[in-house]
């Protein structure tokens, strides 16, 4: 029988894709942390108060959620090549942790986004029109 896509080749290709996607997730998380660090320092230098810090935490939370999405994509890809029950179990545990964390992060982003929006000054009605 003609073997168009040997299992070993599939395993190597998926493994490479998993590595790429997970590296992208880790990069997003680290870049987000570094950018948030710079913004924290700027907020501290300007003395913007507690709301400034909440806004930057919101910014960091969005990057963490995006990085988690990449890592979850890597987990889904990995299910294609996990041969043993132990590997599948570990994958399920990691995916569960990431999914739960993503859920709580999204809730936190939503809540703190509302806090920042409430604290922001509201535009005066009729002032923006031409």
């Amino acid at each position: 029988m003609l073997d168009l896509l040997p299992e070993e080749t599939l395993r190597e290709v998926v493994d490479l894709l998993v590595r790429l996607v997970e590296a992208a997730g880790a990069t997003v998380i680290f870049v987000g942390a570094a950018a948030a660090f710079v913004r924290f320092l700027l907020v501290a230098a300007r003395r913007s108060g507690a709301n400034g810090f909440i806004a930057v935490r919101l910014f960091l939370g969005r990057f963490l959620a995006l990085g988690l999405e990449f890592q979850l994509a890597g987990d889904v890809l990995r299910t294609a090549i996990s041969p043993s029950f132990t590997q599948i179990g570990q994958l399920a545990a990691i995916a569960a942790i990431r999914t739960a964390l993503n859920f709580f992060l999204s809730r936190e982003i939503e809540r703190e986004g509302r806090t920042v929006a409430e604290a922001a000054p509201r535009p005066v009605p009729g002032a923006g029109g031409g």
Binding site: R19, F30, G49
Partner: protein, 99 residues
């Protein structure tokens, strides 16, 4: 790939250091102790997520999961203790016109 693993480990350590500095800045510049702790825990969660991508054994997964859960619980407890912003009562405290 040991080089990639080493880079991720270094990134996790850097995230912890950045968290410590940012929390100190928040504490000194009006963020309050609760705000500073929340900032630190957010950076520590980022470091935990980076480490979780290296976890290959059950022990490593359990340790990473427990660390993240503890940090999230502390953040949740801090946000519960923080009182909501007081409503603006400017319209209710308008002075009566003087006679």
């Amino acid at each position: 790939m040991p080089a990639v693993d080493e880079a991720v480990r270094t990134a996790a350590v850097l995230a912890v250091v950045m968290g410590l500095v940012a929390a100190l800045a928040a504490l000194l510049r009006g963020g309050g102790p609760g705000g500073a702790m929340a900032v630190l825990l957010d950076f520590l969660v980022a470091a935990g997520l980076l480490r979780l991508s290296l976890a290959q054994t059950w022990t490593a997964i359990a340790v990473a999961a427990l660390t993240i859960v503890i940090r999230k619980v502390v953040v949740a407890a801090l946000s519960l203790r923080t009182p909501p912003p007081a409503p603006r009562l400017t319209c209710l405290t308008r002075r009566a016109p003087e006679a």
